[in-house]
Structure formats: C-alpha cells, structure tokens
Amino acid sequence: MYVDPRWVIVVLGSAAAFGSLSPLVYARRFSFFAASLPHSALLSVTLGYVLSLSAGGHPAAWAVALSLPPSALLIYFLHSGVSVDSATSAFVSFSVAGSVAAMYYVLTNYPARVSLWSYILGDPLLAGWDDALLVVAVAVPTCALAAYTYMEEMSIGLDAESAAASGVRVRLHDYLLALLLTVVAVSLLKAVGFTIEHVVMLLPGAIAARLARSARAFFALSLASSLASGAAGLALSLMVNLAPAAAIGFVLLAIYVASLLAGGGR
C-alpha cells in the first residue's frame, strides 16, 4: 500500500490543529461557534477562489481575510448582549445563503481548476506540496498558541468572572479563540471537508473530557485522540477505498463510543 508523505502531513497536521483547539472549544463552550464555522469557511473559500482569479493573490489568503470579519462581528454582538441563539442563527443563515450563492456563481462562471467537492467532502489524497506546507504553517502555530493560552482559557471556562478578576483579559481571549478557530477552519477545509469539519473540532475534546482526570491530561488526550483518528482514518481509507474524511469521522465516533462505555473521568 503506497502512502504519500503529503497525505500523512496533511492528515496529521490537521489532526494536531483540531485536536489542540478542541479542548478549548469544550472549556469555553464555543461549540455553537465551532459547529457553525464550516459554513462560514465554505463561503470564504469560495469567495477567495473568485477574488484570486479576478484580483490575483493566493485563494487561501483571500479566504482567511474574508472569514475574519464575520467571526469578529459575531463575538462583538455576543459581547453587546445579543443572545447566543440569535447571533449564531444570523451567522449561519448568512454563511449558508452566501456559500450557496457563491458556489453557484463559481460553478456557472468559472472553469474550476480545483473541484469545490474537495472542500465539501475533504480530500487530503489530492494534496500537493503547497497544501501540505499550508497545513504545517497553520498547525504548528495553532498548537503552540493553544498550549500557551491553555490555562487562561481553562480559567475562563471554570468561571469567567473570577478569571477576569484575576487579571485575564476575557474579551480579548474571546476574540483570539474565535479568530484562531476561524483561521484553522478556513485553512484546513480542503483537508477535512465542510461535512466533517465540525466533528473533528468537537469530538476530540468531548472524548478527552470523559477520560481525563486533569486539565493537562485533557489537552493531551484530545490531541492524542485526534492524531490517532487521523492516522487510523487515513489507513482505513486506503485499505477499504473509503473517503478519508469519512474514515476519520468513523474512527472518532468509535473512540467516543468507547469512551462512553469506559465511563471514565466522571
């Protein structure tokens, strides 16, 4: 069985990025945001593709630049007192409608050099060296930043007011986490696909929360389960000719069910 190093880099790099962010999503109760991000990412990637063809520049750079303002605006509305349900509904509605319109426009007006299907289903097996480099360029700082801010995020998750009273800039951390999740979601959309992206962002943290007996174990287990599902999912997809993103999703689900049955950590 041939295994291209680019596939391994893309899958494990993505797994590392998502696995390091997932415990923060769980701790900060950002699952509403993480679950809606793939919609925004799809819109940004599609528009980024259009702008790169018409104005030049790298499509990924355009995508990231376009994705940040809506995410920042969502956090701003939440800080201004808009309810989570209302703000998320507006965010998702805008992203969904916008991405459908953008995809229709691209598919009918531009001869696509890369199929949009790879962004919807995710296909790391189509990754070139530039894709692998992008994943590494995103994953390494993401893991580092997630680890560096981890205890502050856990402190906020435990109780935001006592964290603020201890000198943590809670609002700044809200923006930082939201924007980091956005950059990762947009940059790695091609690797994992729109359909499965929220799964890889949410499940590792949920798995680790059931098993971990400490905050440090929580982070380590989330990362480990994400990397394990990435590696096992890639191997499974090659062995049985299954879409890699699907295989990764199934492996993550199996690990989650196993953690439920183990009943550990609680």
């Binding site: 205890m151 435990l158 006592s162 964290a163 009273a165 000198g167 800039r169 929360a209 007996r213």
Partner: protein, 247 residues
Amino acid sequence: MRGESPSIEVDHLSFAYSGEDLVVRDTSLSIEGPGLVTMLGPNGSGKTTFFKLLLGILRPLSGRVLLNGEDVTGNPLRASVHASYVPQLSAVRRDLPMTAAEAVESALPRRLRSRSRALEALEMVGAADLADRRLSAMSGGQLQRVMIARALARGTPIVLMDEPFSGIDPRGREGIAELVEELARTRLIVLSTHDPVLTLSRSKLVVIFNRGVRAVGRPQDVYKLELLREAYGPGVLLIEKCLHVVG
C-alpha cells in the same frame, strides 16, 4: 495605597445593565480592613453586580471605585492587584476536567504559576489533600474551599466572596465560616449571604444592600427589624425561638 490597611471606597456609584432601570443607585460606601464585612440583601438586589463593579468587571454609569486608594473604576486589570473574587458555586463549571491544584494554578499570573504555589494556597484553606482530585468529584464544601484558595493564591489584601455558603450542607457551612473568620484576621473580606447567622458574630461591619447601600454599621446597630424590612420588604419576621441544623 492608604497605609497598610486594605480599603474599599465607593463614591456615588450608579449602574444599569440597560435603559434606566438602575441596579445600583447612587451608592457610597467606605470600609477599611482587615476584618469581615457581611453584605445582606434579597435576591435580585444587585449584590453580585456591586461586586463586579468593585472588581472593575463592569463600568458604572457614574461614580468611582477605589481599592486601597487607587481608582480602579471599570478597570479589572488594575483592580486585580488589590482584590480577588470567589464566585457563587452555581456559576462554577464543575464538569471541566481539572484538579483542585490546576484550578488554583490557572488563576495565577503566568510568571507566578506553579504547583507549589497552588499547594500553598490549598494548604491555607485546609484542602491540600484535594490537590489532585477532579472538581467534579468534590462536595460543595470542598469545591468552595478550592475556589477560596484560588482567590487567596494571588495574595490580594481584599477578597470578595459571593454567597460562599450557598449549596453547602450545614456542617460544611460552619467550616467555611470558621475559615473565613481566620482569613479575615489579615485581609478585608466582604461576603454576601442569605444566612447572616453564620457570620454576624464574626463580622466587624454589616452592609444591608438593595440596589444600593441601605445601611452599614456594626452588627448590633444594623441587624434590626426595621432596617431589614426596608431592604427585604415585609417578609422579615422576628421569632423568639428558632431551630438551626448544625450537623
């Protein structure tokens, strides 16, 4: 900083979350430590909001907050040098995978963050044996001690405790009250409670609060029927004999 005595000064403070419904109405207060100050007030009277104003987490519509003589109005970073906060237990996320030591560590500034410092703080509250226990595996009383340790670890001279007896069994409450009394020997501790019996005899001052300070003074001067009815309404009864479950 005014000498070495911790102090809280509030000058004509007013606050509303929205519109004109003032949650704190033109309130002034001046208290100096060390010692224990008990704050009484019904639900929805603005006690937690008042604490957040003292901590700079909320910015008032008007007025100033001074901690140890420094203006910290609307500035949580500046306030954090002087005061720490123990939240209501109901607000604490117990399901988070975190040990007691980590809960304390996470409240420390990065340059001071260490397990040994966390253990010192847990030792202060008699919870060193809980250091590696997960928060979800603790009783209410145990968790409250950890949250107090979390506030103490930062070494601030002022500690605000928001209903520290809520959700704790009677024996646990007595233990917390004894702990707070001990800590108040060297710090200014302001706590809000619905159960003044535990802290009245231990307090140097009582503040009666309902959308502002209604009365402040020594327990024997302030804990009176007419003043309490002013804050709580007519539902305050004077009963000659009452039953307490102490464990």
